[in-house]
Amino acid sequence: MEFQGYRRKSGKVGIRNHVLVFPTVVCSAEVARMISEKVPGTVYAIHGGGCGHIGEEKAKVIRTMVGICGHGNVASVLLVANGCEVVQPELITAELDKIGQPYDVVSVQEDGGTPGCIEKGTKIAAKMVEEAAKIKKESIPLSELMLGCECGGSDAFSGLTANPSLGIAADKLIAEGGTAIFSETTEMLGCEEVLANRALNDKVAKDIYDAIDKAEARAMRGGVDIRGAQPSPGNQKGGLSSIEEKSLGCIRKGGNTTITQVVKYGETPVQKGCIIMDATAADVMNDTALLAAGCHVIVFTTGRGTPVGSPIGPVIKVSTNSVLYGKMKPNMDVNAGSIVDGEGTLASVGQEIFDKVVACANGEQSKAEALGHHEFDIHFDMDV
């Protein structure tokens, strides 16, 4: 199968043609927003990072920013620097140069403070929008599409309806030669063997064990009993009998195929197929990481409901139950609660999710996009 998308000089493909206004640091975030709001056709992604980072956390933030700015859904990017931040614009532009991603840079400190920076940035962004409009869509095989699989605000139905259905959609995309990434490492505890048994080779199996061990060690450092107390009394009352069962319900969203690679937060995989990302379970920061890795679209299952979207790509919402669907219909793209109602099956909802992913790849807006949601944040640890 194919979709109509954009081919970039970088070799990446896109399903959106965004001109992105991106602050290199939290200090210039509002200036970036003001520029974007003056130029129709641009999007902005503001965040709390860009300064105070050292070591591995600095590398992680830069990797994530480069992944977002060089994303296939982004036609060009205007970086808005403050000037003295740790993440100097050159750290990003050097990487954008390597892949041929169009960019420009403005600086609050160098371009006349807030008004001067806005004036200069607005002109550049307007020109970028004109240039982006000239880019034509072309046919691209689904094998080049990357799907991010996420669950948040879970309920007793998550592991029974929406997550297994999303897994079926992920398997379908992978059968087309495409890629699906799932993360939220803390929710993989108890599934080590199951996941390792699906690993492409010993290296991937070891990476799976290491990632889950690290997540457990992080929890232990926080003085938290993450295994002994699982499943919680509330979980048990709801019918969950073991941590294996709880975690299997989470990881099922990534489908059931061979796991070809484990990547770090925001890291782009070199493999296709089913990828594990070792990343946080915090929804918006996880979305950012999946997008930075190259995911074009995210499918987000939810039992309690969430409105979040992304400035970079469509976020498709799947409700796990019909009560939520009824309450938050304007935010929900697919209702997996239809399985409970007898109107759908895992297979039919899996197909519906897959079809929605393809439709969004072809330009259809997800509900979160149409409503103007563009939540964005980068995860980093400031303790180091």
Binding site: L160, Q230, E244, E245, L248, I339
Partner: protein
């Protein structure tokens, strides 16, 4: 018709109730051409599991196509499967 329970993987030996089930209820689950009808032998609350076949002691309880723990006693078809007759194999520093 609203399904009374769901089977997630054809390798599973338990299904999960979509509604409160009572002794004597006949519950059919189907997936990918597999169809299993079970007579409920014990009241099963919504969200809880029942055995689709007899599960011997120390045999794995299968859900999502994987073991979610081992039976700690023989579990007969239609009976409630939960922490009272199965246990996790994970995080057991005591074993």
């Amino acid at each position: 018709m609203k399904p009374k329970a769901i089977l997630i993987d054809t390798k599973d030996n338990v299904a999960t109730a979509f509604q409160d089930l009572s002794v004597g209820d006949k519950v059919t689950v189907s997936l990918e051409g597999t169809e299993i009808t079970t007579t409920i032998a014990q009241d099963i609350p919504f969200g809880h599991k029942f055995a689709l076949s007899d599960i011997a002691i120390h045999e794995p309880v299968m859900k999502y196509g994987a073991s979610i723990g081992l039976a700690t006693e023989q579990i007969m078809t239609g009976r409630h499967v939960h922490v009272h007759n199965m246990e996790s194999q994970k995080g057991r520093g005591d074993k």
